[in-house]
């Protein structure tokens, strides 16, 4: 019984698992210096009390694999995803560690938890959290860790 439990807990999540859990809508609110983006990440959650960790993971997951849609009025230019799903599949262990150990959170410089938007839906709640993400630093980290190939790798 114990072995079964361990086996379950060590089961690595695949890209589709993450995509279904951290599927989020992103609305860019503004850009700052050195690739800093402020955006609101909307996730669907079962409970009224927001799961901020889930929202933050969803924010990083979106920057990594979905990109940030542009909003001209706020000065946001569309940002393509840093990685693609293949990168995830090739480095499944890395991303499990990256998301589960909390390493992802070092790229979020601010999460405005006090002003979280909560919308009641027929089933569950939509939670909107405003986060400030250091996208360029995140991309750099992916390059340093060999997940993303930077321009230097081609020369």
């Amino acid at each position: 019984m114990g072995a079964t439990t361990i086996s379950y807990s060590q089961k690595e999540k695949k890209y589709n698992d993450y995509e279904s859990i951290y599927n989020a809508q992103v609305e860019c609110l503004g850009t700052g210096t050195k690739g800093v983006f402020v955006f609101k990440v909307f996730t669907t959650q079962k409970r009224r009390k927001p799961d901020f960790e889930k929202s933050k993971r969803a924010a990083i997951f979106s920057v990594l694999f979905n990109g940030i849609p542009g909003v001209p009025s706020t000065g946001c230019i569309t940002q393509p995803p840093i990685l693609n799903s293949d990168d995830f599949e090739k480095n499944q262990e890395y991303f499990n560690d990256f998301f589960e150990s909390g390493k992802f959170s070092q790229f979020i410089s601010l999460a405005d938890q006090a002003n979280t938007d909560v919308f009641k839906m027929k089933k569950g709640y939509q939670i909107g959290l405003s986060v400030t993400v250091r996208r360029d630093d995140l991309a750099k980290k992916m390059e340093q860790d060999g997940i993303r190939k930077g321009l230097g790798n081609y020369f």
Binding site: G30, T31, T116, D117, F119, T132
Partner: protein, 555 residues
């Protein structure tokens, strides 16, 4: 009796039309309250007032221009403007013919406003308004001064964005962000006081006041407003001052403002000869009257314009990021809304809790340079459903007046007014109709003044200890005294203490059982060798305890 009427007048002081509050919050509203810019113009057609002398409402960003006065008198079908205001103020309906002339609008006020010359007059002030808003100097916006203004206008969350985006300096993005609260909500309120009257003692004044409100609107959203502004003036900001910007009529109304000398309740009830601690100077009285006139305008306007109502997301512990900067006061009513996404994707705002301000936080700090966070204000529950974290809490204007019908030993009527400086407390006056007086005729009425404090036990029930004191009055005796210039007969004083239990049937209606005892009674006929003309309270109803109930309507 006249003094009791004076007390009622005191309670009503500064209260305009007691229109029912409107809950017109709809759609996906922004959760941030942006302090609107407001220019107050004075139409002097109703008489001279010194409008440089008043307290500007702190929930607005004060816009000042060189000249904020004009005089415009209009005529309509042979009526002068004062006639028109009086006609409307008397509640007289407009005629069919007048309505036809008003075309799309159905009130005379709207007709008056729709007259082109009146809108033109207001529009003439818009260029200077925008030049003032944008702090235009030497053909360019003065960003330093704009930053200074933003300290009053930015919300906490906007401040957070600003600091993150600019890293402390005012870059292009930050400038862009800075413009949002400044260009987004701008209003002009035209105040026209008329029919000023002075009290007999020369220490009080009252005035009728009409209010017109417009919004400076060019484009529907902030981005189109910015685009329209910069495309027109981006190359030469000097043109702003002499330009005219479109205005959108928001609404109009009439109200009543007054100022009277503060005097003790005991003096008002005739129980003391000491009138007042100090008499105000004429300047102080003028300041008070003008401030009440402005408050009237804000009170009327705030009922119909959501952007004027301070609002914030409810944080843990029923706290909101509003405070002194937004002009919060103790006991202000706030309604919380839950945002619900419907099946068709529309967002509706469902009313949940009725709360009041328990503690006003000091948030009057530099929001752009300081790391300090403004103090949050705290709410306390006062009806409706439970207010949960992340609901939107929005100010709901109210008169603060309660009217009640009660039965103690006989039927009575009570009028109460929220005190505000003592939390959840009210002063009240009441008249208990004791019945006919067989000896001298007429009816005996116990007129009392009292104080009560609501101690909320949850949202629906409150324990309400109270104390009151009053005199028995006879209608026939008063009539005789009036005709013969005689003093009223023996007074017969009765004081009660007790407790009520307010059961809030709805946010508006309360059922209130009560128990009280007679604690202070002075039967003056026992002291004087005169004919006892009025029975004392205990003569009629014994010593108590007395049980009764009240039906109270919260205004």
């Amino acid at each position: 009796m006249n003094k009791l009427i004076a007390l009622i007048f005191l309670l009503m002081c500064g209260i305009g039309f007691s229109q029912s509050p409107q809950n017109n919050l709809s759609g996906d509203i922004p959760t941030d309250y942006i302090r609107p810019g407001l220019l107050i113009l004075h139409n002097k057609q109703g008489g001279e007032f010194d409008f440089n002398n008043f307290k500007f409402p702190s929930q607005f960003d004060e816009i000042k221009i060189r000249n904020q006065e004009f005089s415009y008198s209009m005529e309509f079908d042979g009526l002068t403007s004062t006639d028109i205001f009086n006609k409307i103020n008397s509640g007289e309906k407009v005629s069919k013919e007048e309505r036809e002339k008003a075309k799309e609008n159905d009130s005379l006020y709207n007709y008056i406003f729709s007259k082109k010359e009146y809108s033109d007059i207001i529009s003439k002030f818009t260029g200077e308004y925008m030049a003032s808003v944008m702090e235009i100097e030497n053909g360019q916006p003065n960003w330093e001064k704009l930053l200074e203004r933003s300290r009053n206008s930015l919300t906490e969350s906007q401040r957070n964005q600003l600091k993150n985006l600019s890293g402390g300096s005012l870059g292009d993005n930050a400038q862009n962000l800075l413009l949002d609260p400044i260009l987004d909500r701008n209003y002009i309120m035209v105040i026209t006081p008329y029919d000023r009257t002075e009290s007999e003692d020369g220490l009080g004044s009252s005035v009728q006041v009409s209010i017109f409100r417009v919004e400076l609107a060019e484009g529907n959203d902030i981005q189109s407003k910015k685009n329209a502004f910069f495309s027109k003036f981006g190359n030469n900001y000097d043109l702003v001052k002499d330009s005219q910007f479109p205005v959108t009529f928001l609404g109009s109304g009439v109200g009543y403002a007054s100022t009277i000398e503060k005097q003790s309740i005991f003096y008002t009830l005739g129980l003391s000869k000491k009138r007042s601690k100090e008499i105000r100077t004429p300047e102080e009285r003028e300041f008070d009257l003008n401030t009440r006139i402005i408050e009237q305008g804000i009170d009327i306007g705030i009922r119909y314009t959501d952007n004027w109502k301070p609002r914030a997301i409810v944080q843990k512990g029923m706290k909101i990021a509003l405070g002194t900067k937004e002009g919060l006061r103790k006991d202000d009513l706030y309604i919380s809304y839950e945002r619900v996404i419907k099946k068709n994707g529309e967002i509706s705002n469902e009313i949940r809790g009725y709360d009041r301000v328990k503690r006003v936080g000091n948030n009057d700090i530099d929001l752009t340079e300081s790391d300090e966070i403004g103090e949050l204000s705290k709410l306390y529950p006062d009806g409706g459903k439970r207010t949960k974290t992340a609901y939107i809490s929005m100010r709901q204007p109210e008169v603060g007046l309660g009217t009640s019908v009660f039965y103690r030993n006989s039927v009575g009527f009570r009028l109460d007014q929220r005190l505000r400086f003592v939390l959840n407390s009210m002063i009240y006056i009441e008249g208990e109709f004791l019945g006919s007086n067989e000896l001298i005729g007429g009816s005996d009425i116990l007129f009392s003044a009292g104080i009560q404090k609501y101690i909320n036990i949850g949202r629906k029930i409150s324990l309400v200890p109270f104390a009151q004191y009053g005199t028995i009055f006879n209608t026939q005796e008063a009539e005789d005294a009036k005709n013969d210039s005689l003093e009223d007969g023996n007074a017969n004083i009765a004081g009660f203490v007790g407790s009520r239990l307010a059961i809030k049937l709805s946010p508006k209606i309360q059922l209130i059982p009560e128990v009280s005892i007679l604690v202070g009674e002075l039967d003056t006929s026992d002291l004087l060798p005169s004919l006892k003309t009025k029975e004392s309270y205990s003569d009629r109803f014994e010593d108590g305890p007395y049980f009764g109930f009240t039906l109270r309507w919260n205004n």
